[in-house]
Amino acid sequence: MLKRMDRNTLVFLAGSVFVILLVQVLISINVLNSFWLTILRIGGVMGIACLGLNLIYGFNGQFSLGQWGFFAIGAYAAADVTYRWVNDHSASGLVILTLGVLLTGLVFVLLGRQLAKIRGLDALSAFSLYLIAVIATGFLSVFLGQFLIAPVTGLINLLPAALGMQVVFFLAIIGAGLLAAEASFLLGLPVLTLGSDYFGIATLAITVIVKVLLDNSDTLFGFVEMKGARGMIGIPKIGSWLWVSIFLLATIVVVRNLLQSSYGRAIVSVREDEIAAKAMGIDVANFKTLSFVLGSLMAGVAGALYAHINGFLHPNTFNFIKSFDILIIVVFGGLGSVTGTVAAAFAWALVLEGFLRLWLPPGFETWRYVVYPLLLLLMMLLRPKGLFGGYELPFLRHSMPALRLKPATAAISNQAEPRPASAEAPSESTPGITLSQEDAQSSSEG
């Protein structure tokens, strides 16, 4: 058993390193021009963000439309850090972001410990306490940051310029991811108590609110370099393929390891049956928050990379309409399928940004978004269970039942769906054998 696992891991890692290096070689000998390279990088970025959403929606069953909002938060936070480094030659953004994120994280942990002792605290009260804490740490980190900017700038300047840039970039990505995660933790506190569709709508509202905040980032919030609704320019374009692929690989490994741990089984059990999970002693609220925060962390990282691929950010990019792209990719890849999500992200980027731009006959360039929804409808009719229909690479396989999707006509709430007895069967099967999604699907519909 152990040996097989090891071989799978080895094959997977060797394969991914080979693919990454192959693409890198193709780039360096100019076989892949910048057009295709950008598409590949966008595909990788979407892959990271979509794995995050798959963790939230596919594995934990929380229908979230907020992923794009956290993507935006990550993009703007990281862009601000590198912008200040490149244009103002100061680490002010880096220092304040890192300090703020660390202090807030510390306060969250300490406050969380205190609040965990109190029984019966409602989500809104907890939210108010956390909100006060966040505001306080925000001011504190801005105050403390003033003293650290000069020394940190000097320290990074000791490094060679190119390396210093990469270090700042790396820290900015991590900081942006953590910022998105902390924002999602704070906003998730009250919102995660809502029922499925209402949660989706509340997160959609979060996306819209983030977009409006970004529209006013320069006038109301004093981030002059973000230029509000005019769009942020001058972000260094340093999001190379290597960075994107390394982060994508790391995300895949993190998701895979999480899902194969007891935490992952708890997350999936919340999706399968909340009440049963609760009866088994699983802290449902905790695991909902965990997957929401982790998923948003990935969105923040993806956003940070995206900002440095594009070099230009505009609030309209973070329009709620675009947030459906992530949902579409996740559904295409298959809910609860890691392989499918990553493949679908690249396929989506290649088709929408690549082929549909190049292959449409002259005179039909504007038909791109007419063909795209038709492909969408076709896919939904032909492959409703995702691109690979539940297939996973051996390395990513997990011994958990596939998602039971409910039919469109099923009442979600007040009429309890009589569950066929056979639907229960997969969970009792031998661990280690992956059930194909078809099996669970047909049994739940039967």
Partner: protein, 376 residues
Amino acid sequence: MKPSLATTAPTLTIGQQIIHKRWIGKGLLVLLSVVVIWRLVTALIENPSVFVQQVVNGLQSGFVYALIALGYTMVYGIVKLINFAHADVLMVGSFTSYYAISRFNLHLWLANLAPTLSPTISLLVGTITVLVFAMLVCALMAFTIERTAYKPLRNAPRISALITAIGVSFFLEYFGALDFVFTPNFISFKRPFPVTTWAVGPGGIQALESGVAPPPGSVLFSNILVIIIVSSLLLLILLQYIVKRTKVGKAMRAVAYDKPTARLMGINVDGIISITFAIGAALAGAAGLLYAIAFPQIVFWMGIIPGLKAFIAAVLGGIGSIPGALVGALIMGQAEVLSAAYISTPMRDAIAFSLLIIVLLVRPTGIFGEPTLEKA
């Protein structure tokens, strides 16, 4: 902030009361609402006529949102589908009425037929004709969409239907943006009737001529406002009649309540679902004309923003509930206008959407939504 947790204490300590009666969270909400109400009350005292004017403007958009929200809420009530394509039905309604008015002069048919009739009556009849025409076109389109795109997915996972709805929305928008359809440009909409504005104030009601400043302290009403409110109310009453008094409405309610049983009772469930889509789309078509009359610039993506706001309004009122959609839409209209006027203009959308989240926190299924048992 650390209450003592005496397990068998007969009376609650202050710390426990704070926790058990949810005082911290409530305090935040109360603080927020006190600030907002204070701002609004001072605004009302400062300049009552401006305040009333804002409320009137809010009513205008609120009723348009109500018409759109009804489509969302009816479809959600019956198939539990968030029909994102509904917003684009509004756009089609606007363009249909644009073509009917500017190309075919549909609003002038009675005036051309009987030139001796008073122009007010003939224009009124003409406008109603355009309205009915737009409603019919939208209903037909929604019926076709439902049959071709949604019906094959009736037994597919809910998310497939949602993605399909998004796809249909993209298709309608970008097909409309093609040069031979609606073109990607802004088009200025020709209103079917001339605009008249009345100033209502201390000096009584007087018609306002264009270019003349309104008398101070007066509130402006236009015939656009009157037409929007009257036609929305009439359509709402009609809808209420259909849903509550007719056989089709009874079947709709039965299907929404329990599909399998409704089918056993001999109701044509698929037909009823199609009719629901068509009625919702007809209301969106009417809203399309009214929205274009109020904001006479139309473009292929014009449906997105009012569609989103109406959808949020439907959720605010409790999605699935018809009175909820009306109340939610009116609140949404007021929230938008008043926050733009008195709190922060650039942040008005953020405030309106925060309102949704706050309402959902207090009532998790919206104002009129039935409290649901969490699914097992």
